[in-house]
């Protein structure tokens, strides 16, 4: 059963652009990425869109659909009202390259700034023992498919280019939390660095990131808030603050 749907797609480049109206066939069960592909194959051969797996596993087809950051491959056309125009625009937090494709290199730069996983010296292959319950906390964050929708929606950087320098964003707060909770990681100062170098303090817990996460990772509740709480513990508890100064401890576990 196919029907016509109305799309309004942003077309342009880094300098200029505009919304263009198109109508296209949509079949039962199709997702927004399907109809974008049909537009591409039949009406706009050079319409730029990123995608890879079309199964919600790779996080490539991130865009804004009626203003909401979403994966186009996981957004059913049937979810929209009959006759409703579906507006499709590129991620707003990142510079446009062309049409629906943005320059997400910000995220790769931030990834480079997070201290890598650091196991204890002398750890031998095959001898690692960890309990399931201990790996599960970090496993939740490792579900991240790096679609960067959380980065896109985060109001600290969404309309504030000036904050990008000092703010890593939710994607990297869960990376920091993952490493902080990793049973084999020995760096003790990850929470402090999150605060001092990655801008954890700029987050004011509006939970927008959690709402858009296609993997349903509880970014705010399970990563950001626990890190914030423990940073605050150290920073504002006078005894622990003094302790950390006197003994020059790198951090508090």
């Amino acid at each position: 059963m196919s029907k016509r749907v109305k799309l309004r797609i942003w077309r342009g480049d880094s300098k200029t652009g505009a919304l263009k109206d198109v109508e296209v066939e949509a079949n039962e069960g199709e997702v927004v990425l399907d109809v974008i592909h049909r537009v591409q194959a039949t009406q706009m051969g050079d319409l730029a869109v990123r995608w890879n797996c079309k199964a919600g596993k790779c996080g490539s087809c991130s865009m804004e659909i009626n203003g909401k950051p979403r994966l186009a491959c996981m957004t059913q056309v049937a979810n929209f009202e009959e006759g409703e125009t579906i507006t499709i625009t590129p991620l707003r937090a990142f510079p446009v390259i062309k049409d629906l494709v943005t320059d997400v290199s910000f995220n790769y730069k931030k990834a480079m700034e997070v201290d890598s996983f650091t196991p204890p010296a002398g750890l031998k292959a095959g001898e690692v023992r960890m309990a399931q319950v201990d790996v599960e906390r970090s496993q939740e964050f490792r579900k991240c498919i790096e679609c960067f929708l959380c980065q896109d929606t985060c109001h600290v950087i969404r309309d504030h280019e000036e904050n990008k320098k000092s703010f890593a964003g939710p994607r990297f707060f869960i990376r920091l939390a993952e490493l902080d909770m990793h049973p084999l990681d020995i760096l003790k100062n990850r929470k402090q660095k999150a605060q001092a170098e990655h801008g954890l303090g700029m987050c004011n817990i509006t939970k927008c990131c959690t709402e858009v996460c296609p993997e349903h990772i509880k970014i705010t509740d399970n990563a950001i808030i626990p890190m914030k709480e423990r940073v605050v513990d150290v920073k504002y508890d006078p005894v622990r603050w003094l302790g950390s100064k006197i003994r020059k401890r790198e951090g508090i576990v």
Partner: protein, 632 residues
């Protein structure tokens, strides 16, 4: 387009084309040996098709059943491939897989654990013991992220030591390589363009490692992402390399069949490993009817025994749902053809009756999610509808097993899905992720050894000019063919004529039709300019897919038997004559030519790992060495 296209020139020791598991593992190996390495990603870093692997990574660590060992893994792999595997690749793979998995842990991977805190291992089709290390049903994501983060860790180290994170190891994201370059018979680098803006890139490098993955996008129904366009297969052919056994394509038995837009998306084999059963529309658990003679002693022929196996694997035979993938795919195909299929042309796969809802959500989270979001099916309450989908190509670049060097092209290497031989006629689930790491590492090491003996290389201006002209060509044509239309036509041909069941007349038809499309692609014209232009990108992918499809069809028509991922309606059984033959494809500049080549002979100590009764099912008397194999 008269303006001058900018061209960047880069110089590296090793160029790795492909940033999935194999490419990244190769890059780590080469960088650790002190070389300067460039990694080419066709998409963004971390999006490679590896990310879609679900079930796990096969390695005989013996964490769940300590009877497991490399010999058992080797046996299972050879059986799964119906003895057409390159024995040496299967041997190296089985021996080295555990080290590759353990090494991932030291780089930060977090696998699911056993009660003792070791890496947990799950059952999978064709594996005698629980063997697949896994993270729920997102093992590929864990692998790619771990490798990606390992690359970043090495770059951070380089920054500390050399002041520049990218001085020794650089990732070039969203780049298409259009050509592997050679001078005087040896590899000198590669040429390509940035997908973002069409600017061209020249890489001068004495060693090039192909790690480009598979060919699924040649087919209409596939589990593969858009990147699976056979780039490395085609680059190798054009550079003078060979492809081995391209007729063998794995149709994964369980892809989604409904709704149409998700047709082909993978439903992990773990669903069956965890206890999922296949039924037809009459409610019959049909797999019991499809156990081939060669597997009768390993698989239960009744439901009671099959069900007991989940609790006691030592005293019961395995459920037939866990037969190798080619067997299950053919069985599903036969049930649907016989009119016993589900409403949307598949069969039913059900876990809801055997496993509690919360356990399903924990062990198969992305399957639950995928069916709920895309098909409106709650797999904890109702069955899934599934059917075969083009998943993996066993055929690939002919390589030397120990070094992954492409035969016939000094300086060229291939690892992972793009390489052939390892899996024979059919790959076992879980053997792909381990293949990526084992042979990715070996390709890296092979390239390191090769580069040590090389002078610096120089690409001639004439080669650069030719390569640049080929990239510019689609823009110079007007009013020509639409690349999207040609791609769809090719997919129809492969789906209808070179699919899961094949016959001579259809294959002949396919070969003619593919040749006709090849003529037409010389006329492909693209609209717009070089700025992130998908039509432009597709015109190069299409060229690669056509070469691959031609190689597959031409190999399939000469192999007059049915084995693994190649089923001939007109030659329905295995023929021992063909057991010892590889089909070798090469490219003469105009078309693909296929010839036969004898398989290398397995040494006696590997023959001795098998029961002689089993060997006799596959091998002719003359092939069996005297006294080889054990008589039970």
């Amino acid at each position: 387009m008269s303006e001058k296209i900018p061209m960047e020139r880069h110089n590296y020791d090793v160029l790795v084309i492909g940033a999935g598991g194999a490419g990244l593992r190769a890059a780590v190996e080469a960088r650790e040996a002190g070389l300067r390495v460039a990694i080419i990603c066709k998409s963004l870093f971390g999006k490679a098709h590896t990310v879609m692997a679900e079930g796990g990574i096969a390695a005989s660590m013996g964490n769940v059943n300590d009877k497991d060992g490399w010999q058992v893994h080797f046996r299972d792999t050879m059986r799964g491939g119906k003895f057409l595997n390159h024995y040496r690749m299967a041997e190296l793979h089985a021996k080295e897989a555990p080290d590759r998995v353990w090494e991932l842990e030291l780089w930060g991977a977090l696998f699911d654990r056993t009660g003792e805190g070791k890496i947990s291992q799950r059952n999978f089709g064709g594996h005698e013991y629980p063997r697949l290390a896994h993270v729920g049903d997102r093992t590929g994501l864990e692998l790619i992220r771990t490798m990606q983060q390992k690359i970043v860790a090495m770059q951070q180290q380089d920054k500390k030591e050399h002041g520049d994170a990218e001085s020794y190891l650089k990732v070039f994201a969203e780049v298409t390589i259009t050509e592997v370059l050679k001078e005087s018979g040896k590899v000198t680098g590669a040429y390509g363009y940035r997908r973002e803006n069409g600017n061209e890139l020249l890489f001068e490098a004495p060693a090039v490692i192909l790690a480009t993955g598979g060919v699924g996008k040649t087919f209409k129904i596939t589990s593969n992402s858009w990147e699976g366009t056979g780039d490395g297969h085609a680059l190798a052919l054009k550079a003078g390399g060979n492809l081995v056994d391209m007729e063998f394509l794995q149709f994964h038995p369980t892809g989604m069949v409904w709704p149409p837009s998700v047709r082909g998306i993978l439903v992990t084999e773990s669903v069956r490993g965890e206890g999922g059963v296949l039924t037809n529309t009459t409610g019959e658990r049909f797999m019991f009817k499809y156990i081939p003679d060669v597997f009768k002693d390993k698989y239960a022929d009744n439901e009671a025994e099959a069900d007991r196996w989940y609790l006691d694997q030592d005293n019961n035979r395995r459920p037939p749902e866990l037969l190798p993938r080619d067997e299950v795919a053919r069985a599903i195909n036969a049930e649907v053809k016989a009119g016993r299929g589900s409403p949307h042309g598949g069969v039913f796969l059900d876990v809801s009756k055997r496993i509690p809802a919360e356990v399903i959500k924990k062990r198969l989270p992305s399957m639950w999610h995928q069916f709920y979001e895309l098909a409106g099916v709650d797999i904890t309450k109702e069955p899934m509808e599934v059917g075969p989908t083009c998943h993996y190509v066993m055929g690939g670049v002919e390589v030397d097993p120990d070094t992954a060097a492409a035969i016939g092209v000094p300086g060229l290497y291939a690892a992972g899905e793009v390489a052939g031989g390892m899996h024979g006629s059919n790959r076992l689930g879980g053997n792909s992720l381990s293949d990526l790491l084992v042979f990715g590492r070996r390709a890296g090491a092979g390239a390191v050894e090769y580069v040590k003996g090389c002078q610096s290389v120089k690409v001639s201006d004439a080669s650069i000019k030719d390569a640049a002209e080929r990239i510019a060509a689609p823009f110079k044509r007007t009013g020509g063919e639409n690349p999207y239309t040609l791609h769809q036509e090719l997919q129809e041909i492969t789906h209808n004529l070179v699919g899961i069941i094949r016959t001579k007349s259809e294959l002949q038809d396919a070969i003619e039709k593919i040749a006709a499309i090849r003529k037409r692609i010389e006329n492909v014209a693209v609209s717009g300019d070089r700025l992130f232009n998908p039509g432009f990108h597709l015109s190069f992918d299409l060229d690669n897919m056509l070469l691959v499809a031609e190689s597959t069809a031409k190999s399939a028509i000469v192999r007059e038997e049915s084995r693994g991922g190649h089923t001939r309606d007109d030659f329905p059984v295995m023929d021992p004559k063909w057991r010892s033959q590889n089909n070798i494809s090469s490219f003469n500049g105009k078309e693909v030519v296929v010839k036969q080549q004898k398989l290398p002979k397995m040494p006696n100590e590997l023959f001795d790992l098998f029961d002689i009764d089993e060997l006799e099912k596959y091998l002719s008397k003359e092939e069996l060495p005297n006294n080889a194999g054990v008589r039970s």
